[in-house]
Symmetry: D2
Subunit: 350 residues, 4 copies
């Protein structure tokens, strides 16, 4: 593409993953936003919906039907699941050569049966589901580079998969022992007006949700099992912490005979040179504040007081590495651009 800018459409620009894509793309030297959609807010200026963009020239919000996909190089799809599979099908019908990075859950599960189990209805675009690359860059970089459709993984999922895949591949932990206790900030729940998401319902307290039934478990099972070479079904409970951004996963494991230090060594080795994964010194854990606003994942490993047990902590910003930042990272791969382009922001602390 020489130095030309890629023409980008963002479907679902009135939500938080949409606005985060706009934030990143406006400063990306090789991207140009040519279309923004928001069905219910079509006709409004982006600055009416997100006043922080008032100083920038941006296309007015339109409906999806108004977008000329043939004039677009890459589509970010930040729409609700189920809707998404219909929309992506139409996008490819209108423009078979376009690239799509999808932020929904629709193309993450490769097993149609697993999709139906977790989402309660048969998948409507099985061919695309088969074609999609799982957009966890540090694990699937090569597949993503060649993909037309990338399924950006979930925020809890990215946080919990990155530290565990190297350990499961190495056979260093007992797969049956894994407990993932994940805490998320509120922005992961999106911008729709629901009573449970009001400030007065969320502030000054904490709670578990979707206990025993959260859909991200489908992704965890898939990736943990693939890494371990046999079925793994971790315990997983997500929690809502009174903060805007951040996922913080505390993972409890038993080693397969080795020491906690060994787990640390495996992770440090696996992620050496990765621009967006930082493994902390053994025995220390990160705060979610250390990655807020950045595309980084910070991982820590600590030995439990009982030998053979370890605690692994992994944290990222759910809107950046957990969603829109990783989506831009995928875009960079798909378009043949440097992987870190436009993702240089350093964490905002405090």
């Amino acid at each position: 593409m020489a130095d030309a800018k890629a023409k980008i459409a963002v479907l679902g620009a009135s939500g938080y993953t949409g606005s985060e894509l706009v934030r990143l793309l406006l400063r990306h030297p090789r991207a140009e936003i040519v279309a923004l959609t928001a069905d219910r807010k079509a006709g409004q200026a982006m600055a009416d919906v997100f006043p922080q963009f008032a100083p920038f020239a941006l296309p007015r919000l339109v409906t999806i039907d108004e977008v000329d996909f043939a004039a677009v190089d890459l589509v970010f799809c930040a729409l609700p699941h189920a809707t998404t599979q219909q929309v992506v099908k139409k996008v490819f019908e209108a423009a078979p050569g376009v690239k799509v990075v999808d932020l929904s859950a629709d193309f993450r599960l490769t097993d149609p049966g697993a999709y139906e189990q977790w989402y309660g209805h048969p998948h409507q675009a099985l061919e695309l589901q088969k074609e999609a690359a799982f957009g966890l860059v540090e694990i699937y970089r090569d597949e993503i580079r060649k993909a037309r459709l990338v399924a950006n993984p979930g925020c809890h999922t990215t946080t919990a998969i990155l530290p565990m895949v190297p350990l499961l591949e190495a056979g260093a932990v007992e797969p049956e022992s894994i407990v993932v206790d994940s805490k998320t900030g509120m922005s992961g729940a999106g911008r729709s007006a629901k009573e449970a998401m009001l400030f007065s319902e969320v502030s000054e307290g904490i709670n578990a949700y979707a206990v025993g039934s959260h859909r991200h478990m489908g992704e965890l099972d898939q990736e943990y099992s693939k890494a371990a070479g046999r079925p793994v079904t971790p315990m997983f409970v997500p929690h809502l912490s009174p903060m805007n951004r951040g996922i913080y996963a505390t993972i409890y494991v038993r080693t397969a005979g080795g020491k906690a230090e060994d787990l640390h060594a495996i992770l440090a080795d696996y992620y050496r040179g990765e621009p967006f994964v930082h493994v902390m010194p053994f025995g220390t854990v990160p705060h979610s504040r250390h990655v807020r606003g950045s595309n980084m994942v910070f991982i820590g490993v600590v030995a439990d007081r009982v030998p053979g047990r370890a605690i692994i902590v992994s944290t990222l910003d759910n809107l950046v590495k957990g969603a829109s930042g990783q989506a831009v990272q995928n875009m960079n791969l798909v378009l043949g651009l440097p992987e870190t382009m436009g993702l240089e922001q350093i964490a905002l602390m405090p």
Copy 2:
């Protein structure tokens, strides 16, 4: 004591557990605060240290040495550990008949070796340590009634022990499987000025702390082992969530053959009629907001998607049932008063 008011001293009144004791005692129909101590703030009015008490008549802050313990019926000791054992020894020397409810960790561990292991130095008042009752009312009500010295349990501890003791006593869970992921609000860290406790360091983020080494594990081991009849060493990691009050423990267990419903039935049965423990309907979990400002513990049990695994959630307000409220509950028992007296506050939500 007929209807006379008990004369109460609060040692360490300039901290949050101290001020919470004052809040509760000012409205307790049978308690009269006769002494408040705060070594570094001695001489000040309580309203200078905590302006919310300005409308109330309270004794001026003094040093511990200025208190006439012979004129006191009951002492609440809200001092740092280690200091405490020296102070309590002197209190009993000055007034052998006084009752003491101690909020520090100094008298919670019955095994002197365990104390030394977790606190790094030999105990200085072994006789008193032996004498102390463990102040978890719902488990040790009878011992507490007869005690002169009550060791009020820790906040993480109370939260994690109450739901597990009935299950371990019944042999309903595998002791080796227990993982306790606990989240606390900031007030549990006290009022001393430390960088890590600044608003800007805590707000808008979450983090684990004291991973693999938190001292409350000594109490968990002791009480879990006693209930199970054999040594139990759970995995336990505390986290700091950006909120003032609340402890929220998510406990992951494997059943000893039964179903998650069985665990719920055991807990519902065990706590039927308890004024301060509420077991929620099976399959639901509480928020920490539902107990804020009250002396309640809310417990929920949910089945995991894999049979034979269950998630147990327990929550309380760390300053009330996790500290000063439970201390008043202990005071009521020790003084022969109705157990719920002065503890009727309903949760403040939002």
Copy 3:
């Protein structure tokens, strides 16, 4: 009424002022909740809507039409404005002898023209509007005792009127100079699901709202003018601060010749002996934290660096003294009970 309990109905129990009434009334020694309404949640248990009430026996939520008002002594009406005037009219038709404490704005403005100006439509119950007492207890105690219908004042209003009425009555400040900058917590906006009230929209930021047009100005004008004996139209801007509870009004005035100390003396004198108003030492200001969860108002007066100018700060909990606590205070007066009964809670800090 001897020692019998008054039979109470709460209309609109699924909102925050409704739940706060329930919190207070459950511990009021002379009140018995006999009916709770919530049109859209009728049929549900109160514990489904507010789990903190699970340990308590409460009537199931019903629609307003299902309430037998003839069997009720006093009705709290916590409904939206406009709806309220229709409902209260019907309540009095069904039970002319019942007492009503209304928490909406419908009966606060005595001038029908002012009502129409601020609310955009003619009042539908002019006779009742004329009959209603303005429920600011410290100013209108005698009228309230005799009233059948009490109009509980707004939260910003209560905060800004209490410190200014004594000063305006005394002619101690220039009425033209008054600027009221008010900050409120989020619970004042209620529990309806609106995008602007989501945690992610409110947390970690501050903003003015309804600038130049907030309806509470009608109440301010009315009460300031009455106190001054001539028309007063203060500048007033409300702000939303990221906290659940609290109103904090910073009021800028020029004295009518005197010193700031004189203003303090007038206020200290006026509120001497009032159980719920505390005037702080001259030169100090309160925090909203010092009144959270209590029925207290804290007022401070500070001299500006320029002689003849002063800053007056007033704060209360918008759900207690700013709404439901003041409503219970009005109930106590109307029913001939001690004014402070059931309102003894001390501020929860932190």
Copy 4:
């Protein structure tokens, strides 16, 4: 300087303005951090003090004495006031040609008498005080370009001066009428461990501070008076809102005869083309969230209900445009670089 990177020292790198400078400079294409100082933390790695910088190569923290100022092009001084004047004197003695951007209050007041009045002691570097340019770029751009020493203005000050200077210069408002009610996030108070700055003291509440005596009034008086051409002494009260970042000033004025729309027109005209000042459409106000993490100032103007009165709202991020971002903007001017270089970050919302 061709395309070479400027060699930068940051004095006081362990505070929040220091870390914010590091965050910005690490991504500035023409800056290279060669020295970081922190007297009490000297010897530590920057990543020990601020773990978010762990992925970056940065010089180890040293004492000020260890810095070779002759090898530095520009020094950012983020030290406490009073200390600063001593340090800057020594810096210039060691390296007369170095440029200094000072973030303290030490060189902001041009009148030595005003300095002594607000800071309680005579200035120790009067020659430098005389030499310093006031670093409010939009007002003093030309002076700054030629300066060796720039006094970066205060955060409350920048927020309140930018919207008022154009209006006072135009004679459009009555100088006697100005009331500035300012709200700040907690990071403005720095990172030193003080009880009043603990999370539990700040969260879930709001309070005024330094009422009638805040030192930023000296800067306001100076700049307002200069713009008006006669002495102006506005009323000003700062407040602490429970958020990390953001200053939000609500300014109440009377017009000098004109309408609120006229004020808006003056501001829109004055700031047309300014990259970091955005004047919103008349009648609307910003949130502090809209500028968080960016170098932007958002300004809104609204008419009061009484003709001839207006409300002006101004907001910025106290650590960026209110401190370190503006300091980098000053650096760009002083070094002859494009003014917006390295300051392109868009607000992080939520």
